[in-house]
Amino acid sequence: MGGYIVRRSLLSIPLLLVISFLTFALSHLSPLDPAEAVLQAQGVPRITEELIAATKAELGMDRPFLVRYADWLVSSLKLDFGSSYVTGKPVWSLLGPAFANTLKLTLISVVAIIVMSIALGVLCALREGKWTDKSVRGVSFLLTAMPSYWLAALLIWYFSVKLDWLPTSGMDSYLSYVLPVIVLTINYAGIYFRVVRSSMLSQLNEDYVLYGRACGLPERNITMRLLRNSMQVAVSVFGMAIPILLGSTVVVENVFAWPGLGTLTVNAILGRDFPIIQAYVLILAAAFVLFNTVSDVINAALNPKLRKEL
């Protein structure tokens, strides 16, 4: 098992290298002069050729592309992502708190999503074709189809303005989490519970279920076994939910004025703030690779057959 984890982790290193190089290259393909974009993001009202040249020299943009990439790679290996072009502050001082805020929101949402997906998935599988199954699927279909900004506005109107229970936005207390978590849960649980449901259903027809029932095993035991066996697919899906959510909370963050990664990176992209973009992409890519690895490892633990493949 240990060997498997090591092999699986080593595989991710070249992947991260390729990703970092690609972002570096892609972000330099933009038609707009990056120095000019930086000056615009700083709000400088009149940008002259001399100023652009001076800014380039100051930020080291006048050096060859590969030299800059090598430099960046070496310092980021030491976890030094440099300073923001626009504000001059260290990247970590900007990205760190924003990342922490988004991560908090993501983790709580993922827990809610997993709980809801398993609960609904199992419920629907056991009641397949019945009224409960149909109505849960129907309602979730409707809710998932709603644009999240609209759903969010609706919930804010009802729970914050009308009932006056919750704050409309911001991140002031634990109550601030309730609405964003509900919106994210509705958006994702509505999709993920189908995965649980269908893998449960495919297991229901297996011989061991019939055998278990024939032997008179309590229905609760059979369900637990069913759940364990159908988790394999679900684990991969849930494993990826964290990085996917990390990278896609932009809309929800915008509506709820959540001081997370969304706002920061959108501004960084518009202002060509390369140090922030690079660090963001690397962190997200690392998160994807990490959670992919973790879910593979969990699956390998659940199913010894998978361990030999690598």
Binding site: A37, V44, R46, L51, L94, P97, A119, L123, I156, P259
Partner: protein, 541 residues
């Protein structure tokens, strides 16, 4: 069995609701802007919604929020409706030849950190700005100051290299010629950041949580008397829908037009808030002109032809835009600057909403309608792209209206919504046919907007394609150093006539600053600039 699951599910939902319900008693206010419904104890604070964080408050650089900088820092003089008035300088003298300005400073002013505001502080600040001159080229004065000397404890002399008539106007602007405590300088400089944000203004920055909120507290020792509104909070709310709901709930109680000229909530939402009785809506006089900017230098596009631009001008139904889109809150604009702008009261040919005139112009210019709905000339269609700011609620509607009217004269407009920074990029690279824009506002017009005609990153692409571009740029250079009023007036008239005849700036409406404030708030006023508000003059009854 299945009962267990459904029970669990119900328990989960109930727990969420209960969790939420428990706390309904304790109001988790953000800034404490409680609703004004109680009426017993009027709140002495304002919480305003802002789409962006206040950002770096260093007044000698540009990323900071102007409304926030405007209440923390002050300039020597103030630009008002009645001209230049004293602020930190009590009075001033200008030498005969117009090159030496002597300012007599107020004696009762201290910075927020207790440091005295004196001639030395003024000298240090201005010199720090000048050492970073390449970032301030938009303000021509920055290249014309030869020397700043402290002629006494409270007397400062500013020597210019040549007479420059907008000197006092430029000294009055929100940045960069405003004053921060010299103790906040880092290594004697401000260009690479400052260690604190202590100005002389009516409010002090008390707390700042990046991308969340900033709190400003009244400056008890303000030379003009401590302001009555004790606390102002700037709360970051990027989405307009949330702003509207937060206003209804009372989490924020103040919004105003932002520095892009966009309102976070639309006219209808404002009227709804006003009719609830909790809020009032106050509008300033016209401050700026909203317009469509045409790229005259784009040779491969029909927009490079004067006749096409004139035809668009004729095809814009400004009355309908004013009445239907802005509910009369903005008035139709017929020229680039309204006549109340300095030097802009110039006689210019009136181009009314007249589709026949537009058709004739196109016909005469060789754009003929042979088949289909779009005119062609030498095989190429009369088709252009119009870019608008996706975050502006009104620009898209206006664009759609204009698109439908120009269709009637055989012109095709493709509408593309983008982020404001992306539109700014297009303006500076010249990668556009038409885009929405606005003039800089009363305090900056006409001189700053006109100086931007020749600037690479502003309107250079707009103006450089016209026949008389060289003449235009020469006159812009001349007007800034002109010394007598008559020749200045003549030069501005020429400049405005050239851009009007070429129809490169197609006016739409005259915009104003809108404030939505608690119903009981008095003393709501405006400044000449469209970016700051005089919060220190406001109070609750």
């Amino acid at each position: 069995m299945s009962k267990t699951w459904s029970t669990g599910l119900i328990a989960f939902i109930v727990s969420i609701v209960v969790l939420a319900g428990c706390s309904s008693g304790g109001k988790e206010g953000t800034g404490g802007a409680s609703d004004s419904g109680g009426g017993a104890d009027p709140v002495q604070e304002l919480v305003y919604a802002s789409a962006k964080d206040i950002n770096d408050m260093n007044p000698h650089l540009y990323p900071g929020s102007m409304p926030a900088q405007g209440i923390v820092y002050e300039s020597l003089v103030e630009n008002t409706k009645d001209g230049i008035r004293p602020l930190l300088a009590e009075s001033w003298d200008i030498s005969e030849d117009g090159t030496v300005y002597t300012f007599h400073l107020r004696k009762d002013v201290t910075f927020h950190d207790g440091e005295p505001f004196n001639a030395e502080a003024v000298k240090l600040n201005i010199e720090a700005v000048l050492r970073n001159a390449e970032k301030h080229t938009w303000i021509k004065l920055s290249a014309k100051i030869k020397e700043v000397t402290a002629a006494g404890e409270h007397t400062v002399e500013l020597k210019l290299t040549e007479p420059y008539y907008p000197a006092l106007v430029e000294m009055s602007m929100t940045r960069p010629f405003v004053f921060i405590s010299p103790k906040d300088f880092i290594g004697g400089e401000t260009k690479d950041g400052v260690s604190g944000y202590h100005g002389t203004g009516p409010y002090k920055l008390a707390e700042h949580k990046t991308e969340q909120y900033a709190v400003f507290e009244a400056n008890e020792h303000y030379w003009g008397g401590a302001p009555k509104i004790r606390k102002i909070t700037s709360k970051v709310l990027p989405a307009g829908e949330t702003t509207y709901l937060a206003l209804q709930k009372g989490e924020v109680n103040f919004v105003f037009t932002d520095d892009r000229g966009a309102d976070s909530i639309d006219v209808e939402a404002m009227n709804q808030l006003a009719s609830s009785g909790k809020y009032q809506v106050v509008r300033s006089e016209p401050m700026n002109t909203k317009m469509i900017v045409a790229n005259s230098s784009r040779a491969d596009s029909p927009v490079s032809e004067t006749a096409v631009r004139e035809a668009i001008w004729h095809a814009v139904d400004r009355e309908t835009i004013s009445k239907s889109i802005f509910s009369g809150t903005e008035t139709a604009a017929e020229t680039l600057f309204s006549s109340n702008v300095n030097y802009a009261d110039v006689k210019l040919e009136h181009r009314s909403y007249d589709l026949d005139a537009a058709r004739k112009l196109l016909e005469d210019a060789g754009w003929s309608l042979e088949s289909g709905e779009v005119r062609t000339k030498a095989g190429s269609p009369l088709s252009m792209k119009l870019y608008y700011d996706v975050n502006s609620s009104s620009q898209k509607t206006q664009a759609e209206l204009i698109q439908s009217t120009v269709k009637k004269i055989g012109m095709q407009l493709e509408l593309i919504g983008e982020e404001s920074s992306s539109i700014a990029n297009r303006r500076s690279t010249g990668d556009y046919d038409l885009l929405f824009n606005q003039t800089w506002g009363l305090a900056y017009d006409p001189q700053s907007t006109i100086a931007a005609f020749a600037s690479e990153t502003s309107y250079y692409h707009t103006t450089s394609g016209i026949a008389r571009a060289e003449e235009l740029y020469r006159k812009i250079d001349e007007v800034m150093v002109s010394r007598d009023e008559a020749s200045r007036q003549a030069l501005y008239a020429d400049i405005l006539t050239i851009v009007h005849e070429e129809a490169v700036f197609i006016p739409l409406t005259n915009g104003s600053v809108t404030v939505v404030a608690p119903a009981g708030l008095q003393g709501i006023a405006f400044k000449q600039t469209q970016f700051e508000l005089p919060f220190e003059r406001m109070y609750f009854e």
